[in-house]
Subunit: 262 residues, 2 copies
């Protein structure tokens, strides 16, 4: 039999430096010694994603982001919370193991999440260095680029800082929420026209870009939404896993953008 | 003469517990011993806001949020950054002092930021406890509430988690970005239909609300945008300061929402 632990061990064989000593990539619930019946990959193991995994008969959810509403999946502060308790009960009733694949998937070479996004965009040929998400596109505008991103990644609305009419070619991609110092450090040291990112703090990167524009720089920022910017990397993970586990049922269940824009 | 330091000292006289030992409310640049020529209040001292302050002849900017793209206004990591250097040069050329009024303004009783937002909304009579931003509104829907917020706070677009048709009356307001544990703790212990907040981490409060809805709870979340949710508190600060400094030119310069929604 193949246990859930066996699946995780096999995954980590292909991640440089794994297992990391300090990582959020841990089991969040369930018994990994049980036989694996099926795998669901997702950006985030929401209540609805867990319900879908149960319907599919999958007892392993591989999630990129936390299950319990904080980066470390600390649950002490949630001990009396009814939403948390119902979510944990759903997991336990269905014998589901949740394992997070965040740090290690980003440390795959090339980055597993970014690879999935680049494939979804069809931008492989615009990326000279497979380990550096910097693209040189045919000349477009910020507005047309936003429209392309929305269409290819199935996003309802993106947030833009900058001039939609600005011509652009050099595009940097930082999926997820890497933090202001990473985003700003990238902008400060790289010749790019547009930075794409998943999420930011609204007193950090967006304000840096606003100041840069006020100073006359030709620069723009497109904020895709965290889930929108990383879900393709968890869809791509299905292909990656099928090469290693050809007989295992593996399904991507997208969690979707939580937001309606009104 | 009245120095900039005198202005700050007078402000802090009306803040319970001031001066706080551990606070981000510090001078970010300039010489506070100089005579104050005018005050600008703003949500965030952007490059454009600094330019406007210089045009107005004001040498004190009171900002709610950071000036240099991180909460503590650390600048070591920005020493070689051209956008940072140009911003600092603009401040120095104009002899402008920037002082942050974040922690102390929130500790004013009632909270200075929340007071400004409540006044902008005209919701004073719906708030039974002036120190707890919980409102009981005439029955409305999430969609109609979002429309009211957009109109009264001049917001282009808000982000919603939940059903726009859901009826609602009990509304909680958490301005700014108080963090997931505060937002979720509030939701877990308070009978409310809709939480309004400024900003969140997309793996925290929005996912908690999404799970609550999937579990059948009648709950919604409206994310106003950080600047949108707090700027009225820096506009209200002008009135508050004029009572204390009737002869000083005091102007609110809104920084505006950085984002265009596309």
């Amino acid at each position: 039999m193949t246990s859930i632990q066996d699946v995780i061990d096999r995954i980590l064989q292909d991640i440089p430096g794994a297992p990391l000593a300090d990582t959020v990539d841990t089991f969040k619930c369930g018994d990994p010694s049980q036989e694996v019946t099926g795998v669901v990959t997702t950006f985030l193991a929401s209540y609805a994603v867990i319900q879908r995994a149960a319907e599919l008969g999958a007892n392993l959810i591989i999630t990129h982001e936390p299950t319990f509403y904080n980066h470390l999946d600390d649950t002490d502060w949630l001990a009396d919370d009814p939403i948390y308790k119902a979510k944990r009960a759903l997991l336990e009733e269905n014998g589901i193991v949740v394992w997070r694949f965040h740090d290690h998937w980003h440390r795959h070479r090339p980055d597993g999440i970014t690879t999935g996004v680049v494939r979804a965009l069809g931008w492989e040929t615009y990326m000279p260095d497979s380990d550096m998400p910097l693209f040189t596109l045919p000349e477009t505008s910020v507005g047309a680029l936003a429209a392309e991103l929305k269409a290819k990644l199935a996003i309802a609305t993106v947030r833009v800082v900058g001039d939609l009419a600005m011509p652009c070619r050099r595009v940097g991609l930082m999926v997820g929420a890497p933090g202001g110092q990473w985003q700003i450090g990238f902008l400060g040291t790289t010749e790019i026209d547009v930075l794409l990112t998943g999420e930011l703090h609204e007193w950090e990167t967006s304000e840096y870009v606003r100041d840069a524009i006020a100073q006359g720089c030709k620069l723009a920022l497109i904020v895709l939404g965290h889930a929108n910017s990383e879900e393709p990397g968890m869809a791509y993970l299905v292909d990656w896993l099928r090469e290693r586990f050809p007989d295992l049922p593996i399904t991507h269940v997208p969690v979707g953008d939580p937001f309606t824009f009104v």
